[in-house]
Symmetry: C2
Subunit: 681 residues, 2 copies
Amino acid sequence: MAKDKAMVIFQPSGRRGEVPKGITVIEASRLLGVDIETLCGQQKSCGKCIVRIEDGRFAKYNIHSSLSHVSPWRKQEQEFISPELRGKGFRLACAAVVEGDILVFVPEESRAGKQVVSKAARDIHIDHNPAVKLYHVEVTPPTFEDPTADFERVCLQLKKAYGLKNLTADLFTLRQLPGALRDGKWQVTVSVWNDREILRFRPGKITQAYGLAIDVGTTTVAGYLCNLATMEVVDTVSMMNPQCQYGEDVMARITYHMTTPDGLERMSADIIEGINALIDEAIANTHPPRPKKRKKKGGVKPEVDRDYLRLSREDIEDIALCGNTAMHHILLQLNPEFLGVAPFPPVVHHSLNIKARDLGIRINPSAYVYVLPIEAGFVGADNVGVLVAETPFKSSENQLIIDIGTNGELVLGNRDQLLCCSCATGPALEGAQIAFGMRAAPGAIERIAIDPATREVDYKVIGRDSWRSYSQPEEMQVKGICGSGILDLLAELYRTGIVAKSGAFNKEALKDHPRFRINPDTEQAEFVLAWAPESSISKDIVVTQKDIRQIQLAKGALYAGCKILMKRLGLKNVDTVKIAGAFGTHVDAIKALIMGLFPDCAIEKIQSIGNAAGDGCRATLLNTAKRAEADWCSQHVEYIELTLADSFQMDFVEAMEVPHTHDDFPHLEGLVSEEILKQSE
Amino acid sequence: MAKDKAMVIFQPSGRRGEVPKGITVIEASRLLGVDIETLCGQQKSCGKCIVRIEDGRFAKYNIHSSLSHVSPWRKQEQEFISPELRGKGFRLACAAVVEGDILVFVPEESRAGKQVVSKAARDIHIDHNPAVKLYHVEVTPPTFEDPTADFERVCLQLKKAYGLKNLTADLFTLRQLPGALRDGKWQVTVSVWNDREILRFRPGKITQAYGLAIDVGTTTVAGYLCNLATMEVVDTVSMMNPQCQYGEDVMARITYHMTTPDGLERMSADIIEGINALIDEAIANTHPPRPKKRKKKGGVKPEVDRDYLRLSREDIEDIALCGNTAMHHILLQLNPEFLGVAPFPPVVHHSLNIKARDLGIRINPSAYVYVLPIEAGFVGADNVGVLVAETPFKSSENQLIIDIGTNGELVLGNRDQLLCCSCATGPALEGAQIAFGMRAAPGAIERIAIDPATREVDYKVIGRDSWRSYSQPEEMQVKGICGSGILDLLAELYRTGIVAKSGAFNKEALKDHPRFRINPDTEQAEFVLAWAPESSISKDIVVTQKDIRQIQLAKGALYAGCKILMKRLGLKNVDTVKIAGAFGTHVDAIKALIMGLFPDCAIEKIQSIGNAAGDGCRATLLNTAKRAEADWCSQHVEYIELTLADSFQMDFVEAMEVPHTHDDFPHLEGLVSEEILKQSE
């Protein structure tokens, strides 16, 4: 990376990119297509743009350092950010200037922009039944008449008082017992894992225990520190996956393993160290901030000592962890090589209970890491997390759950049967392989609206709040079109009769339209989205017939996957569509339906479910019944290899068309005019 | 230790002591009261005195070095010792000269001396049911139709072929699977622990697996390398317990822990390193010896490549381990402090299954160490080993099992009920607290016979083969009396009417005897065992009234323990007496009965059972049913605190008397004359 650039990642959207150093975080958000609320126009006076900032990839080495990758704290921020939040890294996005790699977490209340029906990350219902529970017992001291050993003495009481039987204790735990019993005057609090194994003895009566849910993404890693007794989320921490240095996507990392001696060990060690840093950070957040150096004489009043938890590593007594199959295998040092070769078998499906110490994760030395199970080579533990959070296996309605990155994972079904598949959507939906496609960066078209009557184009670019219709041409500085613009594009082209159901330009209807033309060089039809004067590159920004094909291929792969799953289940339609992850937050439900991204569904039943994998992971931390559900999912959700379906070729070709009858898409009624439908026949 | 002295320990007797450097091993054995067979009078021509020699406490750092603590190999040894045995450290005891600390293992066939009915260490019957079993499976390779993960693929076949269900795999094991499956062309051999957890995947079909039984004694550590498939003992290895440097007995080590920061961790680390060295040695013995440096041109023929096993650390897939409660606690770093304080509760009774890696024991990384359970603070896992080997809980006969060191452990009962206790025999039986008591060393009286008619004393000293009656007085060079002599002493004094049942000298009967006198200085009665001219210290070697009291106290503690256990069970006599360990090999059954060391029993039913703890440990390695028995023992053998018995004081006082009626001791009939019995009334 150039020295004058910095990598910025926004959470929870996952949007990332290089930005010039010296711009504000809010400017960086505009460059990268992230909408942060702002009312005062970056005057630092409205306080709407509060974000939490962390150092980027160097965070793990440098957790407690000052936030050196952004500019120093400014006086105006004080009005909106309390000292406590300041201690946790909160800043005004319009005040903090990017000076190095950073990770920016945008809290729900600071997010702007219209999203499809949004589901708050934390309102899923979880019953309370954590794997690690606390039991308090008091025993009589040993005597000559009853010189029973400490362990059996405590076990007997645990049996009497709580019906716990056949308990074992980890050796590291057993070592604590004689001291704990005597320090506690023969009263101890016992942490018991799955009613089976004792993980901790503490003197006296204690009521709190803590655990961590960790979602290991290909790009980012998120951790939720939870109170196992109250289910409260004490803190949320996140960081870049340190493996990014070995390759941005899953296949690049598998390749790194196959081409580099110790590559697997190195990538594993890096993510483990990353997780340790994340744990350090979560723990540090439970301690009061270090006293500041006094700058003025007379100085600042010492801060009030709040009700800090002051946790130590030993206080983390459970971890639940999920990730896609490759992240799972690499973290556990299970050879991921065969995930990349047909028929893509993973090493293991089952969930795993691994001592944290065996992974090098530094929490309570006796604690387990529960690793969610895997459905298939390309449908991983993260997808199991989504299922556990959304529980389609309990629903009478047929749910379609979509999780899209470079690869799309689909789950379809209800309590009777669930199918899953992986479909190769390719990178077109992210702007790649499109003539003027580009990353989400300043000048990229991110929203498009076309007038059905005049077929004139209105649009919005990253880096400018006003749409084209409210701006002077030269103010737009268009460079290209990014992923979120592409998601609008096909729907708008079709809805306005510019392209037919086949994706072909309606040459007849367009023949006199100023924006439609045949490019003399390529002899390809193209449609102008922005004229050269609106562009910063003095070129017309166009969408070509080939571009439309690329978008169709991507949406076709997804749709065909849905269709094949529906056929297998004998379904004509689905009741609910749930879109997980960052992609979901950018999808406009209506346009997605118009372009036929997925089968017909009532608009109000199309939901974005946010980081459902993380929610599901947290659910398994707090409720062991969810662990049973997870294993059930990995065993009973049937994996369908799309390419083996007899109808695959035909379905795929058909799926490339946009929806064009109200029979298949009754919910399109009123969204696309009868005229258009007729026209596109 | 002085520079010109070396520490020598003999196995399996456990006899130890300092000897001058430069003497032969056979001379050292004489000094320390160990009987090694020799016919040729140390001429290196009979080959009867073959022993195995190991470096002493430095062995662990220097396993593969030449045996620098003894003199070089001599040509005459070649005739009796094969190159293979030579490679394992076998030597002629009359040829090898002590040059530093050594451990000497005396094989059964090289042991001399009359022992009570001896039981070969290895002829106990063990059913074959090891915790680690091998299963071979062949699976079909994954296809698009069946892309099941490697692990579930193998598990399914293990279930089909062998009915194994709900198997888990250690993470370290799981890492081997993809490679093993593909290297073995979809055939693997699976090591399964307790039908529950997979410990190892190996490509192809393999039929052999290995395990180690380890007996951690306070002084010595013995290991038995076993083939888990054939039950064969492949090798026996032993070494000094490296903890000896912190104190010779259990209490000294507990004190070291309590007075030294990190003392516990240090002692634990040392025994773990010792065990690792022992494992290294056992493994090295399965490889061909390193080629020798050629000393002459033309040189030695390369050795024939025998059928060596060539094991690696990974090939050791199971360990069973026992030791007394303190050794157990120290090895596991369980605080042993409270073992030393009434009421002496241990930390845990249960057997433990601990991953070898968590103890730092370097074998197969997924393997478990099974640690035998504990009966009580002073009745440890070694005693459980004895019980598992001897199975008194299956016997209809009442068995009394005695295991004596500084402390005595007793078990009494049959299949209906078993009691155990610990009795403070003190060190008198080992020669301490006796006027002329001494360690087993040259000049120590080790056998005594007194003529009932003349009350003249005949005896044998360590370092001289001939008895007094076959020697000139000045040849005897007596210095004192050691443990094995003391065991004869009280029986002989009583049998010949020198002392009465109370232990008091029969002053009336002895009044004119030249060997009996009142010491004018101490005004105490004493009896001369050896006259000054026979002594190397120019003094009469005597036994005093006080000495006899000390011996009575020791034997009384043991006998009272037996008696209290018998009372609890309502027994008048016991059917069998089994004496475990080194002590047993020195007991003369008849004399022990005469002196009343234990209750009456038929002479032929008094057995020495050798290292029964080690045998029992090996049994648990090879048969999991024995592990269940061990846990049963630790839970059901009732610990009796002797000092709490109402009758303890009286029993103890009574027990100090020697047996004096044929009513209580019918088996004494013919061993002690009626006249003596009358006289002693």
